[in-house]
């Protein structure tokens, strides 16, 4: 906690749930590029808490046999395997039109959870997320089936994102071209190399235009050339989208694409502001 700088004012302290004086977000405390006018808010996150229930996360000592399980039922104790994880603990910020916000933090710091909450996919335990339009997560992976051909997966993925058959027909060739997998599109995805799979997934999920776009580790794989192409695509999306959130472990990507960086640590905002400043502090930590 020693490193907590003045930016810690963004962290709603758990010990003081009393309504603390809210402040105008994106205050001038960060030397933001003067060219950037304050746009209209697109996403407001207000003292957000997310609590997960995790099953099967018992430690060895808690694991028992059937008899123990029966005793627990008789004593009306909960399942020890069911653990609550407080993944996001009181995060508040305002995102505005035209911003590209990078979210950094160690594994398990709540980055992906925060994105899902902004997308409206995880209900807040406390607090609220207000959005303009429907933020969409750039992640279609869960809908795809590796036993199926690339062709079928493109169709499936596009429909899963809510495209109409017309939109699909328009985008189909573009997706195949962008992914650059060529004739492999007729083979099952299980035969793809990991890079090819990642390229196809990115091509599918970036085919749709969004108001608020949330990108979770989309650029982790792929060769150099594809990385360049996908960064260009993200820039385009940022221009058309309004607000882009980007989670990545690759800090170069964040530095190149983002205009603001939020550093999450153990579910709280540790720092929020100009990319170079925040990333420098993050690298030191």
């Amino acid at each position: 906690m020693a490193e907590l700088t003045k930016e810690s004012s963004h962290v709603a302290q758990e010990e003081s749930p009393a309504p603390k004086p809210p402040k105008t977000p994106k205050p001038s405390e960060t030397p933001a590029p003067p060219a950037q006018e304050l746009g209209t808010p697109t996403v407001i996150v207000d003292n957000l808490h997310i609590v997960y229930k995790v099953y099967g996360a018992a430690t060895d000592a808690q694991k028992g046999n059937a008899a123990n399980a029966l005793m627990r039922v008789l004593r009306r104790q909960g399942r020890p395997q069911m653990k609550e994880v407080h993944a996001v603990k009181g995060v508040s910020f305002v995102a505005r039109h035209g911003e590209a916000i990078g979210i950094v933090g160690r594994n398990g710091s709540g980055k992906s959870t925060l994105l899902r909450a902004i997308a409206g996919l995880l209900p807040p335990h406390k607090g609220a997320v207000y959005t303009d339009g429907q933020p969409s997560l750039l992640g279609v992976n869960a809908a795809l089936m590796k036993e199926l051909t690339g062709e079928r997966n493109i169709v499936l993925g596009c429909y899963a994102m809510g495209m109409s058959p017309n939109e699909l027909r328009e985008k189909y060739d573009e997706i195949v071209d962008f992914s650059g997998i060529g004739e492999f599109v007729q083979f099952p995805m299980s035969t793809y190399s990991s890079g090819m799979g990642a390229r196809l997934r990115f091509a599918i999920s970036s085919a749709k235009t969004h108001d608020v776009l949330l990108i979770d580790e989309a650029l982790a794989t792929g060769d150099r050339e594809f990385k360049k192409r996908s960064q260009k695509r993200i820039k385009q999306m940022r221009e058309s989208a309004g607000t882009v959130f980007l989670v990545a472990h690759n800090l170069d990507v964040i530095e190149e694409t983002c205009s603001r960086v939020i550093w999450l640590h153990k579910g709280k905002i540790k720092m929020d502001g100009d990319p170079t400043e925040v990333l420098a502090a993050y690298n030191k930590a």
Binding site: P123, V129, G139, A142, P165
Partner: protein, 301 residues
């Protein structure tokens, strides 16, 4: 410790009266990300997702058998083998065929019709809990999942029906104009299945032991539904109320309806029509309403 800082921040921001986040959101017309749509809006959303539902169902069916050597042939083989096992057990070993004319046709009709409902309900109960990653990644009306699973079972049934019709013809039952009512019977059953699986999808999403328990419940249901025996004959000595309850059982009603059309060659009685239509409408309304009520809570954990 954040108090002084935020005071500084406020001062820097212009020193005006602090505006709460909620008020700021309201001023710019932002809405809370999670809110359950009204039922009509939900139905409209579901309708726009029809392509996804169909594609998801087909894709699951294709990928299901992609690992096996015989591939899609299993769609035909599975119902055929099922019928063979039951015929061996109940027709040959237990000798039910002495009591019932054309026992193979009687049995296979029962098995296929019951399996359709049983499989839809069991897979519906898993549809939400086994797709958590999808629910946590994309926006869509969650009822798409149990619906897709029901459509998948309907596609499987198409093969089973082919097998069934072939076997009925082999056992020398004639083709009659009553066969035109087969789609009606299947449609009613499908509507019932959708309602039941929507209901079970919500139960299965929040009560994690459902999937362990369900096979026993459906097996009990199987034995009570007159798949292997004729309810009217077997229950002649039972009290009227019990017989009535057994025949009002939706699975038994859909089975008897189909047997009327395929085997007995008679137009189903008014009582059978009422039961089948009642269960379809009742299950659909209750199942849909019950599922929709928890829409924003699916995927929470």
């Amino acid at each position: 410790m954040s108090q002084p800082d935020s005071a500084v921040a406020d001062a820097q921001a212009g020193g005006g009266a602090p505006e709460s986040m909620a008020a700021l959101a309201a001023r710019h017309g932002l809405r809370r990300a999670i809110a359950r749509p009204t039922l009509p809006a939900y139905l409209r959303q579901l309708w726009t997702r029809r392509h996804f539902i169909l594609t998801y169902a087909t894709s699951r069916n294709v990928s299901k058998y992609s690992e096996s050597a015989l591939g899609q042939l299993w769609q035909v083989l599975t119902p055929l083998l099922n019928a063979a096992v039951y015929w061996l057990m109940f027709g040959v070993i237990l000798g039910q065929s002495k009591h019932i004319d054309n026992y193979p046709a009687f049995l296979i009709t029962g098995v296929m019709v019951f399996t359709f409902t049983q499989r839809t309900v069991i897979s519906g109960a898993k549809s939400v809990s086994s797709n958590l990653s999808l629910i946590r990644a994309l926006h869509f009306p969650r009822a798409s999942l149990p619906l897709a699973y029901a459509v998948q079972e309907l596609q499987q049934l198409a093969w089973s029906m082919g097998v069934l019709v072939a076997l009925i013809l082999v056992t020398r039952e004639p083709i009659t104009w009553l066969w035109l009512l087969i789609p009606v019977s299947l449609a009613l059953q499908m509507i019932f299945n959708i309602g039941a699986s929507l209901f079970m999808a919500r139960v299965g999403a929040f009560v994690r032991d459902t999937n362990q328990l369900l096979p026993f419940i459906t097996r009990t249901w199987l034995y009570a539904s007159g798949v292997f025996y004729s309810i009217t004959e077997r229950t002649a000595n039972l009290p009227q109320v019990l017989r009535w309850a057994l025949e009002f059982n939706p699975a038994a009603a859909y089975i008897e309806f189909m047997r009327d059309l395929l085997i007995y060659q008679r137009f189903p009685e008014r009582w059978a029509w009422i039961t089948c239509v009642f269960w379809a409408v009742f299950a659909l309304i209750v199942g849909f309403w019950y599922f929709w009520r928890a829409e924003e809570r699916y995927g929470r954990g």
